[in-house]
C-alpha cells in the first residue's frame, strides 16, 4: 500500500509518454530550436525532459516527419526543427485520432447514472 505514489507516478509517466509526440508536433509548424521548445511547452504546462526531447526530435527527423536546419548566425550554432509536409499529414491524422480517443475515454470515465 505504501507505494501508491510510486505506482501512480509510473502510470502517469506512461500515460504522458504517449502524448509527447503529438505535443511536440503541435508546436512545430514554425521552426523552433530544441531548448526554446522545452521552455515554451513548460509554460503551457507540458513538461518534457530535455534528454527525452532531443533524441525524440532526431528520431522524428529520421522518419521524415520533421526537418532540421542549422542556424549559425548567432554566437552559437543552433538546430531548428519544423514539420515536413509528411509531418503535417501525420499531425492532422494524429489529432483526429486523439479527439476520437478522448471522446471515447470521456464516455468511459463518466460516472454511470
Amino acid at each position: 500500500m505504501g507505494d501508491l505514489n510510486e505506482i501512480l507516478s509510473s502510470l502517469t509517466l506512461e500515460l504522458r509518454r504517449g502524448t509527447i509526440v503529438l505535443s511536440v508536433l503541435s508546436q512545430l509548424n514554425e521552426p523552433q530550436y530544441g531548448y526554446t521548445l522545452v521552455k515554451s511547452m513548460e509554460e503551457k504546462g507540458v513538461s518534457v525532459d530535455t534528454n527525452t526531447l532531443y533524441p525524440l526530435l532526431r528520431r522524428l527527423e529520421k522518419q521524415e516527419i520533421l526537418i532540421s536546419e542549422w542556424e549559425t548566425d548567432g554566437n552559437k550554432p543552433r538546430k531548428y526543427y519544423k514539420r515536413t509536409e509528411l509531418g503535417d499529414k501525420v499531425y492532422e491524422k494524429l489529432t483526429m485520432q486523439w479527439k476520437e480517443m478522448t471522446e471515447i475515454m470521456n464516455r468511459l470515465l463518466e460516472p454511470k447514472k
Binding site: 531548448y35 530535455t50 534528454n51 527525452t52 532531443y54 533524441p55 554566437n75 552559437k76 550554432p77
Partner: protein
C-alpha cells in the same frame, strides 16, 4: 567560445555520450548538445546566485547519465549488437567476409591450376574442386559471420554489465578524455584482426599454396614450403598463437585506447603467442625437407652459392633466425604497449 578550464566537465560529458554513438551522427549531436548545455547553463547563471561550475554540475546532472542519453539517441531498444559497436561490427564483418570469400575462390582456382609436387596432398578433379567451393564457401562464410557476431555480442553483454553496476551516476564519474597519444586507432586493430583470421584460414585450408610455384610445361607446380604430412599436429599450436594476437587486438578495439587492461592482455597474449610459436618451430619438423632438392630438380639450378639464404633452409640457424625475428616483433609490441600505457594510460 573558450571559457577557461572549467569547461572540462562539459567536454568530458560530451565525450562520454558521443563515443557511444555511431560515427556518422557524432559531430551533429555533439554540436547540438554543446549549444544546449551552454544555453541551459546561461539560463541558470542569469540569477547570479551560482558559480559557473555549480551551474555546469547542475545542468549535467539534469541531462543525466551519458549511457542513458546515448541509448535514447540510438533508439533505445536493446539489440544483439548495439549502435555503440555497430560500426566496428559491420566494418570487420564486411572486410573479413570479402577477404575470406575472395580468398577461398582464388585459392581454389589456384590449387586447381597448380599441382603440388607431393601428389598425396593434392588433388582431386576440377569438378570435385568446384563442388567443394560451392559447399564450403557458404559454410565458411556463415561460420565467420557467426563467430564475429558472437564475439561482439559477448563483448557487449560484458560491457553492459559494467555499466549497469554504476547505477548511481554522478558528474564525478565522467571519464577523462584520453590524451591523443593514448588513443589506439580502430583501423589498426581491425587490420590486425582481419589479417589474423585470414592467416588462420590460409594455414588451415590451403597450406600447400605456401611454397615455390614453378612453371612446368603447361602446368604450374607448387613445392610446399612446409612439411604437410605432419601439418595436423602443428596447426593447433599455430592457431592458438595467432588467436592470441586476435584476442589482444579485440581488446584494443573495444578499449580504443591504451590502459592497464589492454597492457595486461597484450603481455599475456604475446607471451602465449610466442610460447606456441616456439613450440611449433623448435619441436616439430615443420619444414619440407625435400623443398631444396625438389626446387633444384624443377629449376635445374644448383643452389650452393654462399650467402644464398636457401642454403640455410631447414637448418637450426634458419629456425633460430625466424624465431628471433618473431621474438623481436612480440617484444616490440609489448614494449610499445607498456610505454604508451605508462606514459599516457592515465591521461
Amino acid at each position: 567560445m573558450k571559457e577557461n578550464q572549467s569547461n572540462e566537465l562539459i567536454e568530458r560529458y560530451l565525450y562520454d555520450v558521443i563515443r557511444r554513438l555511431p560515427e556518422k551522427q557524432r559531430e551533429d549531436i555533439e554540436q547540438e548538445l554543446r549549444t544546449l548545455i551552454e544555453d541551459m547553463i546561461e539560463e541558470r547563471a542569469e540569477s547570479g546566485e551560482y558559480s559557473r561550475e555549480e551551474c555546469e554540475r547542475y545542468v549535467l546532472n539534469e541531462l543525466g547519465n551519458p549511457v542513458k542519453l546515448a541509448k535514447s539517441y540510438r533508439g533505445g531498444e536493446d539489440s544483439l549488437i548495439s549502435g555503440e559497436y555497430y560500426d566496428e561490427y559491420c566494418f570487420i564483418l564486411k572486410i573479413i567476409l570479402i577477404c575470406a570469400g575472395v580468398g577461398i575462390i582464388v585459392s581454389n582456382i589456384a590449387s586447381t591450376v597448380i599441382h603440388a609436387v607431393d601428389a598425396e596432398v593434392i588433388t582431386n578433379g576440377t569438378w570435385r574442386e568446384m563442388f567443394d567451393v560451392g559447399i564450403s564457401l557458404p559454410a565458411v562464410l556463415l561460420q565467420i559471420f557467426g563467430t564475429i557476431t558472437l564475439i561482439f555480442a559477448i563483448m557487449q553483454r560484458y560491457n553492459v554489465k559494467i555499466n549497469v553496476e554504476e547505477e548511481e551516476w554522478s558528474v564525478e564519474k565522467l571519464p577523462q578524455i584520453p590524451y591523443k597519444k593514448a588513443i589506439i586507432s580502430r583501423g589498426e586493430s581491425a587490420v590486425g584482426i582481419v589479417f589474423g583470421i585470414l592467416v588462420i584460414l590460409l594455414f588451415t585450408y590451403r597450406p600447400q599454396l605456401m611454397g615455390a610455384w614453378i612453371k612446368r610445361g603447361d602446368s604450374i607446380v607448387s613445392i610446399p614450403l612446409f612439411n604437410l604430412p605432419i601439418w595436423g599436429k602443428v596447426l593447433p599450436f599455430f592457431i592458438i598463437s595467432v588467436t592470441a594476437g586476435i584476442i589482444s587486438d579485440f581488446v584494443k578495439l573495444v578499449a580504443g585506447r591504451y590502459n592497464y587492461r589492454v597492457m595486461i592482455t597484450t603481455i599475456v597474449m604475446d607471451i602465449l603467442g610466442f610460447v606456441m610459436t616456439f613450440i611449433f618451430i623448435k619441436m616439430f619438423p615443420i619444414w619440407n625437407e625435400n623443398f631444396i632438392p625438389e626446387l633444384q630438380r624443377e629449376t635445374e639450378r644448383v643452389i650452393s652459392a654462399k650467402g644464398d639464404i636457401l642454403t640455410y633452409f631447414n637448418t637450426d640457424t634458419f629456425a633460430n633466425g625466424i624465431l628471433l625475428l618473431i621474438l623481436f616483433c612480440f617484444l616490440l609490441d609489448i614494449g610499445t604497449t607498456v610505454y604508451y600505457t605508462v606514459r599516457y594510460g592515465n591521461k
